[in-house]
Structure formats: C-alpha cells, structure tokens
C-alpha cells in the first residue's frame, strides 16, 4: 500500500472536528424527464474526510455533484453543505465550495496564471493577494514554467492540475472532485492522486466521485456505492470488502506436495464454520475462506498440530471490483477489466 492513505488516516484520528458532517444529503431526488438520475440519495461526508462516491457511468454521480454545487435544483429531498441549504442558501453555499468537474473547467484561451488570477479576483481577493495566490498555487502544482502559456497548450494532466489549483484558490471548506482522473493515463492519474492526498492531509473535506476502484481505495476513507440513482452500499472501504466476502486465508506450505493432504485434513477436521477450503496446486497455495479471527487461529493450530510446515500465510480482502460485482451483479464498467486494474494498483504501490 502506498503511504498516502495512511497519512490521511492518522490525521483524521487526531482531528478534533471528527464527527461533524460537512455535507448532509437526505432523500435527494432529481429527474430528467423519465430518467431518475437521483432516486432518493442519502449520504454524509464528515469534516476532514474523503467520501468516495462510486458507481458506473450514468449512476447519477455527476448529477449529485451538480445538485450539491447549486448548478442543478433537486426535485425533492434536502442537502446541506457546511450548514447551508442547497436550495434556500445557494449564494452562501457557493462561498464554501470548490468544484473540479469531469471536464477541465478552465478558460482554454487564457494562460494558467491569468485563469488563477481571474478566479482570485472573482473571489474578492485584493489584486496583490490574487497575484500572490496565483503564483503560489502554480508553484505548488508544478505549473510555474507553463504559467504564461495558454491552457489549451497544456497536457491533460497539467490541465487537470490547473483545474485543481483553481478550485483551491478560495480555500474551500468542501471540495468536490467529479471523476478527477477520468481519461488520464496512469502516470498522470498518480500525479492527481498525489495532489488530492496532499489537500486532504492539509484538512480539506472532499467528495470524490469515481468509477475507478483503485481510486476509491487510494483516496477515500468511506465509500458510498450508487447505481441507477440509488445508494446500494455504504461503509468504510475495508468494511465494504469484509461485508461482501469476508477475508480469505492464504497458506503456502513449505512442501507443495503436502497441499492435497492439508486440504483433506482440514475438510475432515470439520472446524466450526470453516468450509470451502481449496488447494491451488499451480500456485502452491491453500485458500481458506474465513468468517472470524477464531477460525484463523483454529485453522493454523490444526495444521501445526498435524505437523505440516507452513512457509508463509496471510489474509486478504476481495478487491473493490469483486465487491461491486457482488453488490450490483454487474461489472462497473467494461473498460475496468481486472487485469488492467491489477496492473495499475501494482504501479501505485511500487
């Protein structure tokens, strides 16, 4: 695991404001004609945390963000951001949010610096401060060298970084990131992740929508899974994984030849609740689904008592792809096939 999320976790545990909700959504409904883009969504984002809103294309993620940034008026339900109601107090609410959309929302014809300066002025910073803030954010997002070039000449990753910088100018209490890495290559995606992790480490509250499992795993503290405008699951990333499949114990015997014997011994012993263990001779592994810590102790104890030598063992949780599959009964997106995801996860970890 990359160190990033761990930094985030440590910080949150120390956070004195832990528990207060920066965003509260109750029964939010938005229809477009016959289409129910949002069909009664409930969710909370605690202050100083990252909530990942995970779902396939067309699940309603962008509609949710647009409602929460006052770009759309919901048909029913309530939503408050930093205590302000999206319908009744849109003007106050706009002072507290930063928005980075799916499509880079910067002016292409203006230079990076001019974009940031303009936004600073629109946020009522005095000229001098707006200039300083533009310089500072360009520096921070490694765009100083490209500061004077028009944004249309920027690469996809640079544009997205400029977009993030633009959202940060007003030091928003709540930041919406709507699919911040969609369409970016893995290297650029990592750049954006790094920036988001930095913002979170500095105390930002983030609502992040994504259709990428690794992204949610990397950045989010909690996850809300939505599909067809409805919340279908919610919890901490680990909880969600555990709820779906529980852990699997992976045992590597010192002598691969003993694999069949070990599997048979386990099956015959009939340990309480332990079933479905499986030998994978190709990889020299014995896989045992677990429901509790006691089972782990019992399995290892039994094998030790029977005199089998274990070279290595560990437990693992199912990937979010598997979680999503088991909740919705469908793959999140065709393009997120497992091999590609696995590859990228490794790259991140490296």
């Amino acid at each position: 695991m990359a160190p990033g999320p761990m930094v985030g976790m440590t910080r949150i545990d120390k956070n004195p404001r832990r528990g207060a909700n920066a965003v509260e959504v109750r029964g939010l409904v938005k229809h477009f004609g016959e289409t129910k883009a949002l069909d009664g969504v409930d969710l909370d984002v605690r202050e100083g945390t990252v909530l990942g809103v995970l779902g396939p294309n067309g699940a309603g993620k962008t509609t949710l963000v647009r409602c929460l940034s006052t770009l759309l008026v919901p048909d029913a339900g309530t939503a408050t951001v930093a205590g302000y109601d999206v319908v009744r107090q849109p003007r106050q609410l706009r002072r507290t949010i930063g928005l980075t959309g799916q499509y880079a929302s910067v002016d292409e014809k203006l230079s990076g610096w001019e974009n940031l300066y303009m936004i600073g002025r629109l946020l009522d910073l005095p000229r001098k401060e707006a200039r300083g803030r533009a310089d500072e954010l360009l520096e921070r997002f490694s765009l100083t060298e490209a500061a004077k070039r028009p944004a249309m000449q920027y690469s996809g990753g640079m544009r997205r970084r400029l977009d993030l910088a633009a959202s940060m100018i007003g030091r928003p209490a709540v930041l919406y990131l709507d699919e911040p890495t969609t369409g970016l290559d893995p290297r650029t995606r990592n750049e954006v992740w790094d920036e988001v992790q930095r913002m979170v480490a500095e105390g930002a509250t983030v609502l992040l929508t994504t259709q990428y499992m690794e992204e949610a795993e990397q950045l989010a503290n909690e996850l809300t899974v939505i599909d067809r405008g409805k919340v279908i699951a919610h919890g901490k990333v680990d909880e969600l994984k555990a709820r779906v499949g529980g852990r699997t114990l992976r045992i590597r015997p010192a002598d691969p030849a003993e694999l069949p014997d070990m599997a048979r011994a386990l099956a015959e012993a009939g340990l309480d609740g332990v079933s479905g263990s499986q030998a994978v001779p190709d990889e020299g592994l014995l896989l045992v689904p677990l429901l509790s810590d006691e089972q782990l102790t019992a399995v290892v104890g039994l094998l030790a008592a029977r005199g089998y030598a274990i070279a290595d063992l560990g437990t693992y949780l199912p990937s979010l792809d598997e979680v999503f599959l088991s909740i919705t009964g469908q793959k999140p997106t065709a393009t997120d096939a497992d091999p590609a995801s696995a590859e990228q996860t490794e790259e991140v970890a490296a």
Binding site: P3, G4, V7, R17, A20, A22, E47, R66, S69, T70, L71, L72, A82, G83, Y84, Q89, P90, R91, Q92, R94, R95, T96, I97, L99, G101, Y103, A104, S105, V106, D107, E108, K109, L110, E114, M118, I119, R121, L122, L123, D124, L125, E136, P150, A166, M168, G170, R171, P172, A173, V174, Q197, R198, A201, E202, G203, A204
Partner: protein
Amino acid sequence: MSSVTTTPTRTPSGAATGGGPQGPADDGRIGLRAHLRHIGALSRRYALQIKADPESMFEVVLMPIVFVLLFTFVFGGAISGSGNQDVYVNYLVPGLMAMMGLNIAMAVGTGVNDDFKKGVMDRFRAMPIARSSVLIAKIVVEIGRMLIAMAIMLGMGFALGLTLHGSVLQLLAAVGLSLVFGASLMWIFILLGLTLQTAQAVQGMAMMVLMPLQFGSSIFAPTTSMPGWLQSFTNVNPLSNLADAARHLINNEGPVAQPVMVTLAWAVGITLVTAPLAVRKFRNKT
C-alpha cells in the same frame, strides 16, 4: 513526504463560518463594489481572449471599411447622381452606425452560445458571484469593440469626404446613441444564444431578424420613394430612427428630439424585456 512539511493553506474554518475570503457568512448578497469587481475580472477575461485570438477582431476592423467603400461606390452614384458620392457619404455613414451595432450584436449571440458549452461556465456558476456579471462583462467588452468599429468607420468616412456639419458634441451624441441601442440589441442575441442549441441556429435566426430590419429602414436610402405600407414599417423601425437621429446630429439638419426619443424608447424597452429573461435563462441553464 511533502505533505508533512507543507504549511496548511486552508483556513481552519468551521461549518458555520464557511471558507470564503469574505469571512463570516452573511446573507450571501453581493454588494455593488464586489459586483463591479467581478464584472471587471470577467471583462478582462474577454479582453484576454481577444488578445489570444486577434483574428476575432477582423470583423470589427474590416467590416466598417468594406461597408463604407462598398455602399458609397455601389449606391452612392445611383442615389445622389454620378460623381456625387461625397454627398451620399454624409447620408450613408451615420446610417451605417446603426447597422454596425446590429452586426456586432449578432456576433455576441454566437459567441455566448459557444462560451456556454465550456466547462468554465460551470465554475463561474458555482462561484459566489452574481450570475448576471458574466453577461454584463460580455456586453462591456462588446461595447468596446463597437466603439473601435465606429472609430474606424468614421475615419473611413472622413477619408471619402464625410463632412461634419454639427459640433463634435453632436457627433459624440450620435456615437453614444448607437452604442446604447447596440447594447440593448446584445441582450436579444444573448437570449437567443442561450436558448438555441447551436451557434449555426443562432446565426440563422439572427439573419432572419436582421435582413428586414436593416433594409426596411432609412439606412441606405431615403424612405420617401417606398410604398406607403413599407414607410409605415420604416417609420417605427428603430434602425430608421437611429439612422435619422445620427444623420440629423452629424449633418446638423432635420429633427433630432423625436428620432432620439423613439430610439431610446426602443433601447430601454428591449433591455427591460430581454435582459431579465437572459439572466434567468443563464441562471437556470443546466
């Protein structure tokens, strides 16, 4: 890791205070000074866009030159007798000031239509600024463009023998009236730009409105030779009134008050009806 050493840039604001640089939350209203500042920042954006794309100034520079040359030499002889083009120049150029406003206003519609398809509009609409300031800034910059076009056209006119019979003040009044009327037209085209789906549709729609208004007027030729039904149209046509007002001011002859009042009435009426509609349309656009 870098995040450990970085000074936090975010204010530790609680839920109630919000994150805006304005400090404690008020009722969210935007004061006049802030409003003007926002319009200034957004006008700068449009000005920088022009700087980045100088070709967008072609129409402003070339249109007045081409119009003055074309109409003076094509119609001038026929209307005022051959060799009397300079007489026609004094008739035509003030009238063309009305037409210039119309043509530049039309381009605003297509520009707005393009502009609003961009992601940056979402950012503006999610920011604590009055949404009308985006539209007003556009109009401010377009009035500037109109002013440049007027200056070039008058320069061209003077080169072809335009003589100022009135005072400089009267000339400025004529330019000012054209700008006021042009600005009111922009609201119509902004509304069209926000309503219609494509820039092409805006252009097509604009042409349909433009043609009869332009040529069914006193811009190019006196209306006395027109049939009665057409005359009654040209008499109420704001472009005729604007052309007559500008003409009478620059040539210091004929009634001024009446065409000026009719033109201003049109400008105010158009703005009162279309500006709120356009702002509402922009506010609710998804």
